[in-house]
Symmetry: C2
Subunit: 597 residues, 2 copies
């Protein structure tokens, strides 16, 4: 997306900031201007890119918003760090582009040394929360949610929420993931040997966050993994997640059996030093679980899961991720990298949902969650997959039970397999339901799922669909303030303030375009009729007449009604109806309205 696009899309709203308890704590919000003079304030994930007063340059990266907060805590140190090698980018020494110097030169932004916790000091938000400290990150996230900083601290301390924030990713605008907070949405990007370039991935990231992605996972494989990730991290206002196993596999030229704990650990350190905020680790795929998938309809569909399954089969040994999990915890604790314990054995079809392989792994993830917490590492648990509606609740209930209410992070679930090209919808249905029941973050699915790699339009469609699912769940969970957005749009709809409806929409561009398709441009936007009923008749207008007759404002509206009508209102209404009758006659019994009105 060019900044040109951004500017034009900003008509009708502006970037605003909520002031925190300190001058360097400013929380971005989207302020939508209504034609009635009011503003509606919405959660904003788009970063500095939508602030005209900020000059962004993808070659320099974003300003390190959190740098002072991290340094001020005095529990971290800069150090020389692990030397970057050509293999990190999947380049052989024979490669003309190989060589350390080239790599360093790839990202032109400010030079930086990696940072880590002082020896033996966990520098995680979990550790701070447990000590009773409300960090600036927690206050920042709380302001975005419209909740108290103490609530955020409590949820993180209890392990019911995570605040992914690697000390080496100071550019992020802190956010919190947990069932008591707004449901979050993750968008996946990442090149593969098939297609896509570094620039495209950075653009996909800014594009996804502009439409509402709360976090982004870089699932790149093949060439330039390290460099792509560096560009994405330095330009990302949201937490970035990865699956280190993918890069580790590249380092052994794709031979799963040649993977080792040493190679994997080295890759984790490499990514932690770059600033990856959370990592998917498939440590629950145990040797003994692999055979449980033998008679599945679609076997193992998680890439990480099948890599680990292959390793276990090749060596006939237990997973090196499982056996070295405690050491892994200590590494993540030193950078505040959050665990996303991967569901390598998730079901890949309706037929395989909730089977023994899936739930056996989930119970193991529960054990690992307990170990990670002991090491003060923030942890979320990944789930579903393909699950029919009647089997969804069992997933969240079991996860909450065996994982001590750790945040659940689910892919969909897809509620049927019969609609390839529409799996954003088959999964959006399941995502809304599982989020209502307690899932904290939803991993989006695009229309290209099962068919190919998503392009720019697919990313947008996937994000919008999942923002719908997440917000529908926020409403159902009764998140404070969630309904204000719906109410504002409903009021605009009832009053035929078309421009307000567009600007309040998740996708103003498309809403505006669709409206223009069937109605004359300007007049129609203010005319008192609904295009669904033709140009003259207007059902809503009748209600407006009724209201005008009976008094009462839309504010207390439905609440008042649903609690029953009091006698006073009855009387008022009786009188109003008599007046109404006269009114009707006086107006020549006209139900229709001239287009001009």
């Amino acid at each position: 997306m060019t900044m040109q696009d951004a500017r034009t899309r900003e008509i009708g709203w502006h970037k605003g900031y909520l002031e925190g308890s300190r001058p360097d704590l400013r929380v971005p919000v989207r302020r939508v201007h209504l034609t009635d003079g009011n503003d509606v304030t919405l959660y904003d994930t788009s970063g500095p890119y939508t602030d005209p007063s900020v000059e962004t340059d993808v070659r320099r990266g974003l300003a390190p918003l959190r740098q002072n907060w991290i340094v001020a805590r005095g529990d971290t140190e800069e150090y020389s760090g692990r030397p970057v090698r050509p293999e990190d980018d999947g380049l052989r020494h024979t490669s003309p582009r190989g060589g350390l110097r080239n790599l360093d030169a790839v990202f032109p932004g400010r030079p930086r040394l990696p940072r880590r916790g002082l020896p033996g000091r966990p520098v995680t938000q979990l550790a701070y929360a447990r000590r009773g400290e409300v960090t600036p990150e927690m206050e920042f996230a709380a302001l975005r949610e419209g909740l108290s900083p103490e609530t955020v601290r409590e949820e993180i301390a209890a392990g019911r929420a995570v605040l992914p924030a690697n000390v080496n990713h100071p550019e992020i605008e802190p956010m919190v993931i947990g069932k008591r907070f707004l449901v979050k949405v993750n968008a996946n990007i990442g090149n593969s040997a098939v297609t896509s370039s570094i620039e495209e991935e950075v653009e996909k990231m800014t594009w996804a966050t502009r439409w509402g992605a709360d976090t982004v996972m870089d699932l790149s494989t093949g060439r330039n993994i390290h460099t792509t990730r560096e560009w994405v991290l330095r330009n990302s206002p949201v937490p970035i997640g990865t699956v280190p196993l993918y890069q580790a596999l590249e380092k052994v030229d794709g031979r799963a059996e040649e993977l080792s704990w040493e190679i994997y650990r080295d890759t984790v350190v490499e990514q932690a030093e770059q600033g990856v905020d959370y990592m998917t680790v498939h440590a629950g795929v145990l040797l003994r679980y692999v055979p449980l998938t033998a008679r599945r309809k679609t076997g193992i569909v998680s890439r990480g899961g099948s890599i680990m399954a292959a390793w276990c089969l090749a060596h006939h040994r237990e997973s090196f991720l499982y056996e070295n999990f405690e050491e892994l915890c200590d590494i993540l604790a030193a950078y505040d990298v959050t665990f996303s314990l991967g569901d390598g054995l998730r079901p890949g079809s309706i037929a395989d949902a909730n089977d023994e392989a899936q739930f056996a792994e989930l119970r193991t993830l529960g054990e690992l969650n307990t170990i990670a917490k002991r090491h003060h590492v923030q942890t979320m648990i990944e789930g579903p997959g393909h699950v029919p509606m009647h089997k969804i609740k069992e997933n969240i209930d079991l996860q909450q039970e065996v994982c001590e209410e750790a945040p659940f992070y689910t892919l969909g679930p897809l509620t049927t397999d019969i609609a390839p090209a529409y799996d954003h919808i088959t999964s959006g249905i399941g995502a809304a339901m599982i989020a209502w029941w307690g899932t904290a973050m939803l991993c989006y699915v695009t229309p290209k799922e099962h068919l190919g790699l998503p392009d720019r339009d697919d990313v947008k469609t996937g994000v919008i669909t999942y923002k719908i699912a997440a917000h529908a769940a926020d409403l159902a969970k009764g998140h404070p303030g969630a309904q204000a957005w719906d109410d504002a749009l409903s009021d605009a709809r009832f009053e035929f303030r078309w421009e307000d409806q567009f600007n309040l929409a998740l996708d103003p561009d498309t809403a505006r375009a669709f409206h223009d398709e069937t109605l004359p441009a300007e007049p129609a936007k203010t005319a008192h009729f609904c295009s669904m009923c033709g140009p003259k008749f207007c059902s809503m207008r009748i209600s407006q007449d009724i209201r005008r007759t009976h008094g009462g404002d839309s504010g207390a509206a439905s609440a008042g009604v649903s609690e029953g009508v009091d006698p006073e209102l009855d009387a008022e209404i009786a009188a109003g109806m008599a007046a109404k009758s006269a009114e009707f006659a006086a107006a020549g019994n006209r139900v229709y309205l001239p287009l001009a009105e």
Copy 2:
């Protein structure tokens, strides 16, 4: 859609027929040809248009499939019928196009006299079912569902299902609507003063049924209502529904207060003689309920509801639909027109969901349902609207309670108001849930909802989205055979039979197009890798290797696993894994697969 399109879209499947108990009872099905030589049989709503052996001509209409069945029952008579008047098409006498002769000439198909039940004889499927008769229509619908004809009869007799089949619409392929059967989807078409023509409406109807619409509602307003309906009915293989009030309003030039029982009744007879299979009647909008909407956020959003509200206000009298309901029942019983009791006070926003106005009307619909049944008139009840997820179940539970389990027919519900241009998705989420809980038919919502009139692409998107919701509900309800479709597609996916995946998809064209976008054409479609993981790596293949080692076929697959692994399988697996290790070594520990393989 041209027949050319139809032909090309038929590659990979053909139109088949299930033979009933009599030679003239042939039930259409879609037989998908798999590359492994097997066929998958799917429910088919597309009518004769997809049968290359049938010559269709929209100017002559479809063959009267049910004519002999209706005549053979000997309980109906042909009669001269109500004279067609220019006003029926919204034409004034001054109109140059006015005049009876012109109107008769408008539909060139075979001349016919209307038919009705002999005096005092209800000729409804409900009356037959109560008498213990299994009609050819019931057997036809049962074969489509894969259930026994007796089950269909029982459900209709109990009022838990309806089989909309006007004696004047012999062209339809009978289908049944009820919670024990496959969830059905209705698509709305209809011109308005704003746009669209007769030809367009007929094409929208055939287009909607081609993608899976089980019924179609013609919501035309403005000019040529009568003639448009005639063309749609004569060419429709699915039941057609209408809202007679819309045409009645045109006859009084849009002045609601000039509506009368006489004008309404005349319109109902006119439409019943044409063959309308079910009619939405807003008889539950009572004078005393109107004020309950005064303080709503979005008032009355149902067009029929606001017309009746206006009439009640103008006259300060009770609804003429409510007061003449028993006479209306006798008219519908004489043609077997099914009631769709309209929810004129449905909520138009999240804020208004489940309020007193909505549920007061629902209880009245319950009373009317009891009266209609007494007159042997088949009846379904309309519902939601805009309803947040946590308030959806209350709607279906209350409806089932107060309407004696009569089929519920719901619009969506939309689970949030913030996504205009995506309301097929906001409502698809609610539709899947309410259908799982017992709703029998879903009225689709297109991306243009609230913004404009749907075009051809919107109709397709709306139907596909709702077929997804309906099928997800069929899976969750455990409809016998529903999962076979998913299993067939999952098997094809696991075995990388791309063409089979496309042909089994709800929308083969789009699935095929998306796949082609990111992968080389032919080779990729048979190559053993998944495009999501790049060209070489294949997680599913690993599972195939595991399976090959451990034996077991995909058939009994997951069932066996989810019931737990028996010792025998354990042993088999242990042996298999040893062999697997050797296999790995022998194959040079290759996890990757060459593209060619």
